[in-house]
Subunit: 308 residues, 2 copies
Amino acid sequence: MRISILGANGFLGRRVAERLAADGALGGRRITALTLFDIADLPADAVPPGTDVIFQLAAVVSGAAEADYDLGRRVNLDGLRAVIDACRALEQPPRVVFTSSVASFSGGQGVVLGDDARQLPANSYGTQKAIGELLLSDASRRKFLDAVSLRLPTIIVRPGRPNRAASSFFSGIVREPLLGLETTLPVPDDFAVWIASPRRAVAWLLHAASMDTSAMGLDRSVSPPGMSVTVGAILDALEDVRPGAAALVKRVADPAIADIVAGWPAAFAPQRGLALGFSPHEPLVDIVAAFVADDLESTRQDRAITHA
Amino acid sequence: MRISILGANGFLGRRVAERLAADGALGGRRITALTLFDIADLPADAVPPGTDVIFQLAAVVSGAAEADYDLGRRVNLDGLRAVIDACRALEQPPRVVFTSSVASFSGGQGVVLGDDARQLPANSYGTQKAIGELLLSDASRRKFLDAVSLRLPTIIVRPGRPNRAASSFFSGIVREPLLGLETTLPVPDDFAVWIASPRRAVAWLLHAASMDTSAMGLDRSVSPPGMSVTVGAILDALEDVRPGAAALVKRVADPAIADIVAGWPAAFAPQRGLALGFSPHEPLVDIVAAFVADDLESTRQDRAITHA
């Protein structure tokens, strides 16, 4: 089978590519071609004839889409439209795996969103993701393609370094102490967040690429079974894996960041995702241990090099 | 104040234009300019400097958007994007009144949709309308404009002649007998439909153009208080206004049409629309009487001319 990954140089794109290259197969079928792209405007050859699966992971993320409306619209909407049109030119409708986001919902600490919750985004990125879901459900109904849109939770633990994303601290409070560095926590310990690990996200993306979609009907969107956890529980897991590390996390209230993340849904009831075969989430302590196993050393080296 | 009507030659556009021209004012403010456009691609001067209100009624309707995906996407999506961009060029964010549709929902005979119902369209037209709502809520949040999206019910009684729209018969079973003509009813008498009269739709559009939007928050979409009625009740109202007329309606089951309309939501619980000041619907018999008063003679003349 022939697979294209759009946004292949992103955090998840690299992992999906590595995993597919290592496996050599998807859903029991041998991979004969793996096409990787990572630029804003889709080139004509990103979806070659005979493509069976497209991972559409390319996106301008939330902060950037909010800061530059035209850029977000061009990449997140026009980019997806170009993918849809490329699919229409293929002989067989390919599977399209699209990364949507919990940012397509409003919410808050008190809510548990069901599978039929309405998407009322509070930012342009979430708006563009909700629109992408609608375009892909319609394009699937018309048999231009065969889509699965995954509303990914906040992914922890991201490697790399702290950035200006409002969600940066959710990874930072694990990653930085494991690197021996102090970091700040801008929200109370009982603040809840809907998360998934990189391992789980990659597993879901591969399941979305190979699953039977006939049970999905008109609705090609799935809220996969992430996990609602408090910041305090994340710190407890960190402490389990590396006793004493949590002491490097300093409570520094930041109302600006707290206001943003307070609008995100803290929990979902992902019955449909479970029924469609998306694997349930591993425990928090496994997420921290997986970061240590998969990413800690490379993160340390990367940061040592760029600090040098 | 300066008003633009895009789609001004359509059924509702003409009525809104006539009403504004007759009133000379909107929301207590004198109208100093009324710009009317009705073509697919928005010309640069459709939204002149100083525009206060834009009625965006231009659309490729359901059957056409389903038959020609590219045309629907160009007019219903790119057209709206052009309106948004035109608004960004104005000094003050104008009010944008957008006609969305019940076709943006799935549903069926058994459901009553609440104001928080998820939009899961079963056709490309409804998809494009749901996307339009998302774009306009986001553009309002960003203060590019100040939108109200009205999800209009099936409008009865439309003047003119029967057409190939699946919904054509809902108007036909009133209009045709009042013209002395036989017509067919493709669904059972107990089939329910969510309707609004042309008079009510125009009143809602004018309210949307002049209301205070500060209570709407992120959600700029409204399901106005239409009315859920059965086909049998429509025929009873016809019989009240013109005894004997309902005998011209012949029951001829049409499974193809019945299948399409069976997917439309038959009822809404429009609490938010009522709270936002959208007027409740007049009784069915008034709808039939209003058609006789407003449209019957002109429809008779138009059809006599084109039949001659």
